[in-house]
């Protein structure tokens, strides 16, 4: 900053006469501390004004001094001096503005904070939900992969069960592990049974032209689509069939109600 220019800009006089804005005043006071010549210029103008004002003054009414003295000293006797602020500063109250601004800033910060907190809480909730979703997906995935591995392992026989006249569009798949004899069933499409009925899986064996049926278990009532369910083991089988039976099944299949059946 060019201090000479600053001094001759009228800022010194404006400061002394109280014509600066709070901001300008604050700046001026800061510069005064840094530049002795600025302070000198200020004092010089103050002295000039003071001299002017005193030399050209008119005397106040004679009784005024006594009135003021009695106010001041009566006050002093009755009450200790309270540090001021009865006079309303007409000029802009910088401290009050700063205080107000601080409060507004504080309120703003609190509001902002609460906003952030709410946002944070929400994100945390969303995150937890996503985690849960992810876990479920992962579990399903793991299950599907396990099933797929299981189904594709060596010795696994895949048998398609086609719809019969009862339900031409139905289809199911049996995976039969010829080593361990485990049987898995995948229902691709079966009509929903009545509430007192249940599907039952059978292994079919033909010996000497005689058809033998072996109970491989009931299909769950609420079979999820395209999910592989483990059924009862079958030591030997030449084919598979699903019949619609009464709830909890029958020891022998109702051959009128075969829904899907594989080739033998």
């Amino acid at each position: 900053m060019n201090i000479k220019e600053y001094i001759s800009s009228g800022v010194v006089e404006s400061y002394v006469l109280g014509l600066l804005t709070a901001q300008e005043r604050f700046e001026f006071e800061k510069y005064c501390e840094a530049y002795p010549e600025l302070k000198e210029a200020r004092t010089s103008f103050e002295l000039a004004i003071e001299k002017q004002a005193i030399e050209n003054s008119i005397a106040p009414p004679a009784d005024l001094k006594q009135k003021i003295a009695s106010k001041i000293f009566a006050e002093n006797k009755t009450a200790p001096v309270i540090p001021i602020e009865t006079a309303r500063p007409r000029r802009f109250n910088w401290a009050r503005l700063v205080a107000a601004a601080s409060i507004i800033l504080l309120a703003g910060a609190i509001w902002w904070n609460m906003n952030l907190k709410n946002q944070n809480d929400k994100l945390r909730g969303d995150y937890a939900a996503l985690q849960e979703n992810l876990k479920v997906s992962r579990d399903s995935m793991a299950q599907i992969i396990a099933e797929a591995n299981n189904i594709q392992k060596e010795g696994m026989k895949t048998v398609g069960l086609n719809g019969t006249a009862n339900s031409p569009r139905s289809f199911a798949t049996v995976y039969w592990d010829t080593t361990s004899h485990d049987v898995y069933l995948l229902v691709n499409n079966l009509p929903k049974p009545a509430s007192d009925e249940q599907y039952q899986l059978w292994a079919l064996l033909k010996t000497n032209n005689q058809l033998q049926t072996i109970d491989l278990g009931m299909l769950q009532l609420s079979q999820k689509p395209l999910q592989v369910y483990k059924m009862t083991n079958a030591r030997s089988a030449q084919g598979f069939a699903i019949t619609l039976e009464k709830k909890d099944g029958n020891p022998d299949p109702n051959l009128q109600k075969i829904y899907v059946m594989s080739d033998l």
Partner: protein, 166 residues
């Protein structure tokens, strides 16, 4: 030295500065009774606030002068004062002519005297800002000139004033 708040200190302040303080009050408040009331308030306030005076920010007289100026402008702007002067033009509506805020008896002393040497426009600007206490923004609005112009002209007026004060 004045913090003792003794009788002596009061005498010193009053005897040295009461005239100058009374004069500035009279140059802002136009009737003598009101000016005396303001004068009392000002001295009581100076007395109470003396602990807040910061010598680093200026001379004691400057501090007192500004308290007096502010108190007088406050008074002029107060409702009671304006109501008492209903038959006179209201402040702010009258931006032409300079002496309206002034008791004719004290027009030509102190700063006001110096003012008479300024040209009409500068006089008006100093009167509005210094004696009537309008902000630069308010003056710009009243006179219908840009804020920057007001600032520049007031600075120029003040620099001229400076030369005359000596």
């Amino acid at each position: 030295m004045l913090n003792g708040q003794s009788n002596d200190a009061f005498n010193y302040l009053y005897d040295n500065y009461s005239g100058a303080i009374y004069t500035i009050i009279n140059q802002i408040v136009s009737d003598k009774d009101t000016a005396s009331d303001v004068m009392q308030d000002v001295f009581v306030n100076i007395w109470r606030k003396i602990n807040t005076y910061d010598a680093g920010k200026g001379r004691l007289f400057t501090w007192m002068l500004n308290i007096a100026r502010n108190a007088a402008i406050d008074k002029v702007r107060s409702k009671g004062y304006r109501d008492n002067r209903k038959n006179q033009p209201m402040m702010g509506n009258e931006t032409s002519g300079i002496a309206m805020s002034t008791n004719p008896m004290v027009t030509d002393v102190g700063l006001k005297k110096v003012l008479t040497t300024l040209n009409e426009e500068y006089r008006k600007l100093i009167d509005l800002s210094y004696f009537q206490g309008f902000t630069h923004e308010e003056i710009a609005k009243m006179m219908g000139i840009p804020l920057g112009t007001v600032k520049t002209r007031i600075r120029t007026a003040i620099i001229q004033l400076r030369k005359m004060v000596g």
